[in-house]
């Protein structure tokens, strides 16, 4: 492997690269899906390839290939330099990389049970056991369950001397029950919507989720939603639980704090950000109890790793502190644009195929001091929501409208019953500014986002967002 890394770097330098790095990535994926008692998906794949990234004439070039052969390594290194030179013909500014030690290290996701040593039969059997419980009532017309596992073995080398080997392991599982009656469908998911809970853990995560043990409750909630009243429209107090806060944090803070978006790099597709650099250190993003910390080292986080794809060691830093915008997700190219001497380590690519781009790291809302009973007990007229179902936010990450699978009406401090189709709409700083209470660390949960899409060509990244239930006063519900 060392020879192949050096071969590509040497070829790039010989072709005129001022800087070069190469990532060789070998990925094993395994996934099982069931639908209504039958196998609906089965994947066991191996994927191997490399990507060479160079700076020449102050501009980037990148070429990747699935053919890990000496001739192809040389060819793609030379092609990357050719591409960079083409870029340089139009660019007025030269890329400058923030300094980073040339790390030589090995890092591996800490796990207890390797998910690839568990038989497919056991995995399929667990999903089918959930399926049987979910479909015990004929009103459940669709039960869909899945689990998947990933092992990504990365080798990274740069012309600055970095040599980093990492083995990342991610596991996850979940299911959804859809109840249908009189032409109406309602769904409930566990452990969360959008495919389930994913973490940087092994098979021990699947065991801890107690998938079968939660299936009866999920089935009954889906059925109960069919006859539940519609969530009210108007201005109410809102309590969000971690399965919805994960999406709230992700969309309204995570993407808004990606420095490439802030600087216009995503303007044509995903959009820009209202959280512009002139606001850094002074803009009131939320109420004084809102603290959002990025952390590439948090145990179990989907973005937790030793180093990013710039070779930058992972860190922990504030994005919002006491309600004030304090930081961004950065990489080596952009860190200096906000006067920071070092990247925060947020440059990541999906596999070997893609060019690394700025991604949200693990980002969490820090716990407060309330108990759950206090949080609910102090609400005169409100709604609790959980499990994201609908998400839409504008291209500057200001106006959002989100919907959840389930809601509970709260009157005079008591939960009075279910409501269906709950939605809320607000503007990002107004919403976080309305946060007046957050539950304590005993309620804090880390929830994974396994399918964050970004970039052109599109690529997927994973990250986690932790939170305790939080309360927001005077929010517009319904439309």
């Amino acid at each position: 492997m060392k020879d192949m890394l050096n071969l590509a770097l040497d070829a790039a330098k010989s072709a005129g690269a001022d800087y070069a790095d190469i990532r060789i990535v070998n990925t094993r994926r395994q996934g099982v899906q069931t639908r209504n008692g039958e196998l609906a998906g089965l994947m066991d794949s191996e994927d191997l390839g490399f990507g060479v990234r160079v700076l020449a004439g102050g501009a980037w070039g990148f070429a990747s290939s699935n053919r890990l052969e000496p001739v192809e390594l040389r060819s793609k290194a030379v092609e990357a330099v050719r591409i960079a030179r083409a870029s340089a013909t139009l660019n007025r500014d030269s890329v400058q990389l923030a300094p980073e030690p040339a790390w030589q290290d090995f890092w591996q996701t800490p796990i207890q049970l390797d998910p690839f040593t568990i038989s497919l039969q056991e995995k399929l059997g667990l999903l089918l056991a959930c399926d049987r419980v979910l479909r015990a009532d004929p009103r459940i017309k669709e039960a869909a369950a899945s689990m998947s596992f990933l092992r990504e073995h990365q080798y990274y080398a740069s012309s600055e001397g970095a040599r980093i080997e990492q083995i990342l392991i991610r596991s996850g599982a979940g299911y959804t029950a859809t109840a249908v009656e009189n032409g109406e469908a309602q769904e409930r998911s566990y452990p969360m919507s959008h495919g389930g809970q994913y973490m940087g853990l092994g098979w021990e995560l699947i065991l801890a989720l107690d998938l079968v043990g939660n299936a009866e409750r999920v089935r009954e909630e889906a059925i109960a939603l069919l006859s539940a009243p519609q969530c009210p429209s108007g201005t109410f107090d809102l309590i969000l639980k971690p399965q919805q806060l994960v999406l709230q944090i992700h969309e309204s803070v995570g993407h808004a704090s990606e420095l490439d978006r802030v600087l216009g790099y995503e303007a044509n597709y995903a959009g820009t950000s209202f959280a512009t650099t002139d606001k850094l250190g002074s803009f009131r993003y939320g109420s004084p109890i809102v603290n959002l910390i990025a952390d590439g080292t948090v145990p179990g986080g989907l973005a937790t790793q030793g180093y990013d794809d710039d070779g930058v060691r992972q860190q922990r830093w504030p994005i919002v502190q006491a309600g004030i915008l304090k930081g961004y997700m950065t990489n080596r190219e952009l860190a200096q644009r906000i006067g920071e001497e070092r990247s925060r380590g947020c440059n990541r690519a999906e596999g070997w195929f893609h060019l690394p781009i700025t991604r949200i790291n693990n980002l969490s809302l820090m716990p407060g001091t309330h108990s759950w009973e206090q949080l609910v007990g102090e609400v005169e007229d409100g709604v609790i929501m959980d499990a994201n179902k609908c998400w839409s936010i504008d291209q500057q990450r200001l106006n959002f409208q989100f919907g959840c699978e389930i809601g509970w009406r709260v009157k005079q401090g008591k939960v009075t019953g279910l409501v269906k189709n709950p939605t809320y709409q607000s503007m990002t700083p107004v919403f976080w500014g309305a946060c007046d209470a957050i539950c304590g660390p005993e309620e804090w949960k880390l929830v994974g986002v396994a399918n964050c899409g970004k970039g052109q060509p599109g690529q997927t990244a994973e990250m986690s967002h932790g939170s305790s239930p939080a309360r927001f006063r005077g929010i517009q519900l319904g439309v």
């Binding site: 899906q33 209504n36 609906a40 998906g41 994947m43 066991d44 794949s45 191996e46 994927d47 390839g49 501009a59 980037w60 070039g61 990148f62 070429a63 990747s64 699935n66 050719r82 591409i83 960079a84 083409a86 870029s87 013909t89 139009l90 038989s119 497919l120 039969q121 017309k141 899945s146 859809t178 249908v180 032409g183 109406e184 469908a185 600087l263 216009g264 790099y265 303007a267 044509n268 597709y269 959009g271 195929f353 060019l355 781009i357 609908c390 998400w391 839409s392 936010i393 504008d394 500057q396 200001l398 106006n399 409208q401 919907g403 709409q425 503007m427 052109q456 060509p457 599109g458 439309v479």
Partner: protein
């Protein structure tokens, strides 16, 4: 980037089938793809790349047990390893129930719509093409961002019953946003060949929209008559497809269109067909079972005609496959791949001229499903929202959020353009679409910009 010859593809498939000899049966799918993309922002190229990958999917049955595996290693060792991997998976399975018979031959086994020059389009030529875009943006005080990309894909499927199908296509695409302090303008174009892209004209149009969008004024949320060019229609059609045109959800009763076949659900001006053979679509002529993809009317003059089928859903519904199988097994069932919304009689300018008061929407952003029962969507306008008064664009308007049911929106279609264009939605897809005039389209909040 190197396109494989048909002979090279066949050699890989035959070598893999050789590895599968002695098994009950084998199905192979070989996908080769390449893309070279120049991504620009702030009037410079920020990302510039060339990518190539290959995927060999192997599905086998051994002693009645199903095994699947995939690899991107196409050498002899890789092919041998992936077949062994599929056999290991099969060995752990219970005998499969209700296996479909393999299709032995395909009536339309080949489509070649790959332009070799487009596949080979180099970074220097693309940089030259972008120079005028950046010059225009600088001259007019804007920052241009976007992509200029050339991509190609090859698909070959084969099985142990003798099926052999081949498809290959190319696509060149240019998309740009011109950004100012309080305004932006967007355009997009795509074609089989880069010669079909007029980068300068598209750049001038994005610039024109951005100029016109300066100093936007607020507008009141509420029901508005909207003029939607094809790019704005794309997001609505993408979700109609996803929610309503697959047979599996229809049969399960979870589709909002379940049980409504034969009913008039939309305006008589609204007709949708799935047609892989449409000249703008360049679609796959066969499905993943090897059956010919039929031209399927889905909505005719507002009447929902039914869904597409694969062999599984067709058997359940007592009908025949329309040739829309996805790779099996999958949790989704069959889906259309090339929706064509029928054209009308008007031009986009005539739609504006015939509107007393309304909004012109350049395109939509981050649309999503809020309530699938009602096909209720929510999303944002972006990159140019304009007030129409007395048949003319009056002034730019700040972006707004819409929350609207597709039942309602496509029932309120008042006019359709005769020109169609190929566009995808924010989350993807590719549809051949006209522009539309829709009354009482509900906007529910403002963006403030």
């Amino acid at each position: 980037m190197s396109v494989y010859t048909k002979r090279q593809l066949d050699e890989i498939l035959e070598r893999t089938l050789d590895e599968c000899r002695g098994l009950d049966r084998a199905e192979l799918r070989l996908e080769i793809s390449g893309e070279a993309l120049s991504r620009f922002a702030n009037n410079g190229i920020q990302q510039n790349l060339s990518q190539q990958d290959a995927l060999l999917h192997v599905t086998i049955v051994e002693r009645g047990r199903l095994g699947l595996a995939q690899t991107n290693r196409l050498d002899a060792a890789g092919v041998g390893a992936v077949v062994e991997s599929a056999r290991r998976v099969a060995a752990l399975q219970d005998p499969a129930k209700d296996l479909l018979p393999l299709v032995g031959s395909c009536p339309t086994p080949e489509r070649d719509v790959l332009d070799a020059e487009t596949a080979a389009w180099g970074p220097e030529e693309k940089a030259q093409g972008l120079a005028a875009t950046f010059e225009l943006a600088r001259a007019e005080g804007f920052e241009a961002s976007g992509i200029l990309t050339n991509a190609w894909t090859q698909l070959a499927i084969a099985n142990s019953e003798g099926l052999r199908c081949h498809y290959q296509s190319s696509r060149a695409r240019f998309s740009t946003t011109f950004h100012g302090t309080d305004a932006s303008g967007w355009t997009e174009g795509q074609a089989r060949s880069f010669r079909g892209l007029d980068i300068e004209a598209l750049s001038r149009e994005a610039c024109r929209i951005a100029q016109a969008a300066k100093a936007p004024q607020p507008a009141q949320p509420g029901p508005w008559t909207v003029i939607l060019p094809p790019a704005a229609v794309a997001d609505l059609v993408m979700f109609l497809n996803w929610l309503g045109f697959g047979a599996q959800d229809d049969l399960a009763g979870t589709s909002p269109l379940a049980g409504k076949a034969g009913q008039r659900l939309f305006s008589p001006l609204f007709s949708v067909t799935d047609d892989a053979g449409h000249p703008l679509a360049d679609g796959l002529p066969f499905d993943y079972d090897g059956l010919e993809r039929q031209r399927v009317p889905l909505v005719e003059q507002g009447v929902f005609k039914g869904t597409v089928h694969d062999r599984v859903t067709a058997k359940q519904a007592g009908t025949v496959s329309t040739g829309h199988a996805l790779p099996r097994p999958n949790p989704h069932g069959p889906f259309p791949g090339n929706l064509i919304v029928a054209p009308g009689q008007s031009s986009l300018d005539e739609l504006v001229a015939g509107t007393e008061r309304g909004l012109f929407v350049t395109h939509l952003h981050y649309t999503n499903v809020q309530d699938r029962n009602e096909m209720l969507l929510t999303g944002m306008t972006r990159d140019g929202l304009f007030l129409i008064e007395n048949g003319k664009i009056s002034h730019p308007v700040r972006n707004m959020r819409f929350t609207e049911s597709l039942f309602h929106a496509f029932s309120n279609v008042e006019a359709v353009t005769r020109d169609q264009a190929l566009h995808g939605g924010f989350f993807g897809g590719g549809f051949v679409l006209p522009g539309m005039k829709i009354r009482d389209f509900h906007f529910t909040s403002e963006s403030g910009f």
